[in-house]
């Protein structure tokens, strides 16, 4: 019995030792796979932590899931890219106010052989119509992420319902950006991706950029605090400090400074909201 109590105490101590290192000053940010996997956070967060003394813990998931984590009160700040969904989040009182942070753009990537003959097009709607007409394989996120929302918006603008190709050429895999690119590379399929993840992606095989530069491919990122009145444990002051830093001159310069092979991945625009959405 005594040894039982001893062992139990030991166990509790082990579990508590995990809890103890949770005491360091930190905030939790629910964000997207694109910001994490493109290396942006690896570049800017150490700068913020050095300045503010606050560690930032990033949970990188799709935009839909990130907003849901915020809604449940499991993060202090949400940093995502689906303006319509973000405005709903603010309107329902889950958090806000929302601030513009930066933008980059989406690109359509596809196999070098280009079976749908879309290479070099600037008109995304036309490209998607050709892909659907050729029944060329297209891999979709299918995960309620910001990129998925943008893709569905582009199909609507092209007046094509890709659901008809389900089970055939239109392949919704329900996973993050990286797995979509891995799948597209393996199947010689087309896919919509944010440029940041594409630039950081290593397993391209035959994939190339097919369509870029269309104003409809604009991709705005926004940041907002989780509502502390709804979730009293939220670290509102430290979370706001992070948001203020992101939109400050220092934060904006840090974002602009993140490059892969000399190419800038994100363009800060906190001062000037996006031209279109």
């Amino acid at each position: 019995m005594i040894s039982w109590i001893l062992r139990r105490g030991l166990l509790a101590a082990v579990v508590l030792s995990f809890a103890a290192n949770a005491q360091e000053r930190s905030i939790t940010v629910a964000s997207t796979t694109s910001t994490e996997q493109s290396g942006l956070f690896g570049h800017i967060l150490p700068l913020f932590t050095r300045e503010a003394g606050i560690a930032v813990r990033v949970v990188a998931v799709g935009t839909g899931q990130a907003l849901d984590i915020g809604r449940r009160g499991d993060a202090d700040v949400v940093f995502v890219h689906d303006r319509a969904a973000e405005e709903r989040f603010v309107a329902e009182g889950s958090g806000g106010p929302r601030r513009h942070v930066m933008y980059n753009d989406f690109v359509v990537v596809g196999p070098a052989a280009d079976p749908a003959r879309v290479n070099g097009l600037r008109d995304t709607a036309e490209a998607l119509r050709r892909i659907a007409a050729a029944r060329a394989p297209f891999v979709s996120r299918g995960d309620r992420s910001g990129t998925h929302a943008a893709e569905l918006r582009l199909w609507r603008q092209a007046e094509v319902d890709p659901a008809g190709g389900r089970g055939a050429w239109y392949r919704e895999i329900g996973q993050g950006m990286g797995p979509v690119l891995n799948t597209a590379a393996a199947q010689n399929a087309y896919a919509l991706t944010d440029r940041g993840t594409w630039l950081a992606f290593r397993n391209r095989q035959e994939l190339r950029i097919a369509v870029e530069g269309d104003a409809r491919l604009f991709n705005q990122y926004g940041v907002m605090p989780v509502n502390p009145r709804r979730h009293p444990h939220v670290k509102a002051a430290d979370g706001q400090r992070f948001i203020d830093w992101l939109v400050s001159a220092a934060g904006q310069a840090a974002i602009a400074g993140h490059k892969i092979e000399g190419e800038q991945l994100f363009f800060p625009n906190a001062a000037r909201p996006e031209p279109t959405s």
Binding site: R7, R8, L11, V14, V15, F18, A19, N21, A22, T28, T33, Q37, F41, G42, R57, V58, V59, A60, R72, G73, D74, G176, M177, G178, P179, L181, N182, A185, A200, F201, R202, N203, R204, H231, H233
Partner: protein, 235 residues
């Protein structure tokens, strides 16, 4: 073939370089999985021993349920713990979601049925051999539980290793409840999943090689400890 070769040389390079980030990830993986095994053993082994000796109505049903729970998908265990630990869930006020503690709990939930079911199997066979003897010493089924656990300790080590293998190999539960936060809740399996997402397949596989080497080392150490102890017990 090039990729496979690259993976092995990358793995060697990672280990040789003693990368502190990798060391931290390896350390957390071990801490989480070992703690989860300890926690699960606390519940699972006595439960297994009790089921081995006790006879009560509905026992068969419990045994079948435990055996079925061995197949509990990690992502389901993860979701369950996620909803319990979320700030909006019943245990939310402890703020454990997206911490290593949450990962320990999820893995413990995942492997406790494995430890219980396997130890029940092992100990029931022992009990069939010993029952007479222990009864003649006046030990009822309840008193027999500690004796069985002690006498079966070498066989139970294999059971614990099975639990440890499952814990250190799973990715679904720790990804959901830990969030794969760099420098805080990132473990080997979630790091492998991340590198796979980024398309860096050789690095992902290299991390897999490192993970397998760690699991192999843990098993070899356990086997050596068992052999040494058995020799002492025998001599």
């Amino acid at each position: 073939m090039d990729d496979l070769g690259a993976a092995f040389s990358t793995a060697l390079g990672l280990v040789a370089a003693g990368d502190p980030a990798l060391a931290a990830i390896v350390g957390l993986s071990l801490r989480v999985s070992v703690t989860a095994v300890a926690l699960a053993a606390f519940v699972g082994l006595p439960l297994g021993a009790l089921l081995a000796v006790a006879r009560f109505p509905g026992r068969r049903g419990v045994v079948v349920a435990l055996n079925a729970l061995m197949g509990l998908p990690p992502v389901v265990a993860g979701l369950l713990i996620y909803l319990l630990l979320s700030r909006s869930g019943p245990l939310g006020r402890f703020g454990l979601l997206f911490t290593p503690s949450a990962m320990v709990v999820a893995q413990a939930v995942l492997i406790a049925p494995i430890l219980a079911a396997l130890s029940r199997q092992v100990l029931e066979e022992m009990w069939e051999e010993y029952a007479e003897q222990l009864r003649s010493l006046g030990a009822g089924p309840r008193r027999a539980v500690p004796t069985l656990l002690w006498d079966g300790r070498f066989a139970l080590l294999t059971v614990l290793l099975a639990g440890f293998g499952r814990a250190s190999a799973e990715v679904g539960a720790v990804m959901v409840v830990g969030g794969n936060i760099e420098g805080f809740t990132r473990v080997m399996t979630t790091a492998i999943a991340l590198e796979t997402s980024k398309g860096d397949l050789p690095l992902a596989l290299a991390l897999g090689v490192v993970l397998m080497a760690i699991v192999l080392t843990v098993n070899a150490l356990a086997q050596a400890a068992r052999d040494t102890a058995a020799r002492w017990a025998g001599g």
